[in-house]
Symmetry: D3
Subunit: 124 residues, 6 copies
């Protein structure tokens, strides 16, 4: 994998952070509350935050949003999921969502590789 | 809740079983293999089958398919999830999928009530 | 139009109210906050609540949710939109969303007729 | 199959015709033009109308619209497709669209059975 | 914001114009009629063209199409909407469509910034 | 058309092949079986493989996935469809899926041009 690909994940993180700042700078109370609600959704509740990150990943994959997939892959890796667990979750998304999900499977696998290279995802 | 509502879940089960028979009776190898693949998806793997049922539920909810929601709710109840855990999973679907998911939240809550009444879902 | 059809809208209102009660009775803080956020979305802000009801209608139509369409049609009628304005908005949804929206156009037209019959929607 | 199920297809045809009349009675030029455009789409062109009916069916199935599926199934049967050809087309929709399409496969199979019973679809 | 970002909107405009030319050069009567119908949709009717541009924006946002969002943002800016009105409309899309819309909110905010820089969008 | 655009299709082919390798290297039995099932879907059956490629193209277009569109456009060209037949199929997708499909029509037309330039697609 090239240095260029390594940058793809870093670039996403930076663009995501800057973009979120712009959204919040628009200073709309409803949007701010939605962002706050979104953050709280993945905190421990009746289910652990870790379990809910995996739910967020599968929801993102069947709805075919690469940015959402990348965000939840990183969160899943940080929550301690191993690669084969994440792949098993992505397989659920593939079967529920069909072959139209395959391009996002390719994207997700590349992101997992990047997360492994930087040490965020445990190899085994 | 009326006797009529109780029947809604039983009627779904029967219609689903009969419908699946008709699909398989069409005798198409690709369709049969897909059904087989679908069944295997929720067996224990790197993740437990129990975890994957919850993933299937959330995928069904964000894609807004009541029949799929009912099926996975029943599977989740049988796998041992408690109501508040299922509700916490549905909340992830609500936040990811937005207010367009709300009618399916209403449907899911009614199904959960029916599953409780028949003893499939533990109340607490 | 038959008495039976008249009941379709009343039945929806009752089922929607009962269903929302069940969702809120599940007593999940995130869900309650989402419902509250949803309600506030259509209040006067930089845009009037009236304008935002029309936005909600078109969003519901392109996402093809009959319950959401019925709810926003009623809100639009109560906000004072005339039938031809609502139809003009539905046409935007038809063109953006394509012929797959047509069954929901049929549903919406029947709902508009019911709203006219009960006097919620001004005829002209 | 019960008499009741036989009525499901006839009821759909009547409701569809009445609903389309209501849509056109709204007298919106854009909507009328869209309906006209939609009809013309399935006439012979570079591809035969018969081929395009099958394309319309698969598009309807992956977008998960039962009314659209029923309409195109009838058009496909009248265009001369045999059941196993239609099933082979539905399998493409299943694989592209995933298990979320399965409830619509069940619906389609029942409709095919009704079309066979009334003689619109050739058995073999 | 960098010069590079400024180019993103200009590049989109040029690619869109060239792409539309290619689509129309394919010389398909149905496609030409659809494009004509699409253009007419946003002209004054029972609703003003200005109102319908906002409907088009929200429809594009819940259906998560960045190119469509950029096009309608520009049209909304030219129609005279102020930034806080557009943001209020995008909030409706966010609540209806859920957190999966957030990456498109980030995209939209950047486009709004570009439109402000070039003077198409009034700052207040 | 620039040399740069020519590379867009070649780059896609390479990225697609490498990405699929990564997906299969994850060594998940369910995913491998899905990929195998997907490949078999487009082989001759009750319908010819050629017909099913066109179904796959239209399904990809209404679901708005550029990578899937590019893949099926290439398969359709190799199966012997002429440009005006492919355009007629894309028109079905446009009418079913609406104006939200237009950006994907633009993308598809550019891909068709690239396929013509390299001789994969017959001009007439």
């Amino acid at each position: 994998m090239s240095t260029n690909e390594k940058n793809r994940l870093d670039e996403f993180r930076q663009a995501r952070a800057e973009g979120n700042d712009k959204v919040l700078d628009a200073d709309h109370l409803g949007i701010k509350r939605f962002f706050n609600l979104d953050t709280n959704t993945y905190k421990d509740g009746a289910l652990t935050g870790k379990t809910k990150e995996l739910l967020g990943l599968v929801a993102s994959a069947v709805m075919r949003c690469n940015d959402c997939i990348d965000y939840h892959l990183e969160q899943c890796a940080e929550a301690g999921y191993k690669k084969d667990e994440i792949v098993d979750a992505l397989n659920v998304a593939l079967v529920v969502g069909g072959s139209i999900v395959i391009p996002h499977m390719r994207h997700a696998m590349e992101t997992l590789e990047l997360l492994q290279q930087e040490g965020t995802l445990e190899t085994k």
